[in-house]
Subunit: 337 residues, 2 copies
């Protein structure tokens, strides 16, 4: 099969073997897959991954023991836990030390014609949910992880730092709970997506750093983002840490104690709330699509996605009807600023 | 009046003016006051405090507008907020930026014959609660702050790091909720207090660092304590940070995100639960008393309290009946190892 393969460098290969599903697994024919910030880190050497990257996908179940799943359009949770260790038994399957993670660690991913995943990882996508919305279920689930971990009060003052895809989706999820919300970013064309949804936005250079927030969601991806989060969080407030940084950073622990700050590390989240939010039209993800590339242009797609100004880049196995998508020209406009 | 006074150096003074209570304040005749870790930091220059230190006390209300309070034996919350700023209005009075803090910041404290506090800060101590238990209400409240901030599940695995006074009280509070509990310390004589209460204890050098915990309470007071906390906390677990450190420390933020660790800064807590726990005999604080000194021996008391092996040192204005206290010889035994 055709796919992208990373082994120190990213290559397009035509002769990859179609994977064979193991017991309890399904073979999935990939329809489309999103390039995520983590994928960009992977091709920069993060996780020492070797194999087919990609973990945000929609596909069709082509081979499976469960007849109810056959032919279904699905998305899939990316962590494949052992199921028997104390963490798994305790329900913390996403933290299983023996887990493989689709396209990230120990398991080939979605930037190819086929992938395999355990049946228990799959979520059927309702027929009425557009393909190009469904591609966002995995990263949107990571945003719902925030409200799974932290009780965000509708009277809270919340700020989302970062206008990458994750920040734009996190802001949209925060928008739903009634809180007083500010989104801080670097790109006018990205913040405009939130402006149109009635979210107050500000470019980082224009931010009034005297304002204080009960909850700060740090999704800038850069260590300066943590310092900004610390400066903006009010006493007894919470920093939800989504960004990972390559280096360790210096933290004043005493001030965290005196000000009683909470820092909550936050990663993968629940798929079903994400699917429900998309079905209910509560989150606008399709506007986040910057450009679609066919799989055979995968290397160019990565090159394009590497630009900071880029929004979501999608790889597709063939061209699907672009329900609800903006016209290419319009998308283009957003990506050239 | 007699009192200890810090102004770069700690002095015993005989001619300090008796403070005059302001509107809404009470004049309190101090009976006894505990020397806390923070007091030791203050005489080392922390907070740039000048004045009378001391914030853990029991006293009798001697002058007050409220006749119900007159003559009552009281303990007092140490933060005196402005009451009108957004943090105060939001109920976060302990974080008011304009607050004074008894014996710590902007307000003379308890190591003297008299102090003043707002009436609203005072809690009447039931007659049946021994004086030398009541001295611990303030630090014990800081331990109940932990369960105010974090839901500790009775099935959780909890470890308390540090066998200072705070660690020994935090372990006793954790003991009450049914959780699987380990206390880690450096001194056999301190850990024995917990052993006798059925708490599993281990000296730090004998700790099996492969064991994992859902909640780690970091009360060692040293930056190595944070690294140990990070090593012991399980995925999706919580570090409750009680220790303050003079220097900033290096933190691997990415691993906090991947492992979804929460770090919760924790400071002052609620007095009433602490008083109730003492009244119900659920927490043994009197065993934590190492030695009592009369106020005129305050400098020697500080010198004694500075030793790492010391437990709680109490300053008293006169000698009170030692209800429930160990015999001096027995106390002595614990402090000379």
């Amino acid at each position: 099969m055709r796919g992208l393969y990373f082994n120190g460098g990213l290559q397009l290969k035509e002769d990859l073997p179609v994977p064979e599903p193991g017991p309890g697994e399904a073979l999935i024919k990939v329809m489309a897959a999103g390039i995520c910030h983590t994928d960009k880190e992977i091709v920069n050497g993060y996780m020492d991954f070797k194999g087919i990257p990609g973990h945000e996908f929609v596909g069709v179940v082509e081979k499976v023991d469960d007849p109810d799943m056959l032919g279904k359009r699905v998305v899939g949770e990316i962590n494949c836990p052992c199921g028997v260790c104390p963490l798994c038994v305790d329900g913390k399957t996403n933290h299983c030390h023996d887990r493989t993670t689709l396209g990230i660690s120990g398991r080939d991913g979605a930037f190819a014609e086929y992938l395999t995943l355990p049946i228990s990882n799959l979520h059927i996508i309702p027929d009425t949910l557009p393909l190009y919305a469904a591609v966002f279920v995995e990263p949107l689930a990571a945003c719902f992880r925030i409200t799974e971990q932290v009780h965000i009060n509708p009277s809270n003052r919340v700020v989302v730092l970062g206008d990458g895809k994750l920040g734009l989706m996190a802001a949209q999820v925060m928008r739903l709970n009634g809180c007083a919300l500010l989104a801080v970013g670097r790109y006018t064309h990205k913040l405009k997506i939130l402006d149109r949804l009635g979210i107050r936005t500000v470019k980082q250079e224009d931010l009034d750093t005297r304002e204080r927030f009960d909850v700060v969601i740090e999704s800038t991806g850069s260590p300066e983002g943590f310092d900004l989060a610390r400066a903006l969080v009010d006493a007894a407030g919470t920093i939800v840490q989504k960004s990972t940084y390559v280096e360790s950073i210096n933290v004043d622990i005493s001030s965290l104690v005196v000000d009683e700050i909470s820092i909550i590390g936050s990663r993968c989240g629940p798929f079903e709330p994400a699917i429900r939010a998309l079905m209910r039209g509560l989150v606008n993800v399709q506007e986040l699509i910057d450009r679609r590339f066919p799989l055979e242009m995968g290397l160019q797609a990565f090159e394009y996605a590497m630009r900071d100004a880029a929004l979501k880049v999608i790889l597709e196995m063939k061209t699907y009807p672009a329900e609800g998508l903006r016209e290419p020209g319009e998308m283009q406009q957003h990506s050239v600023i």
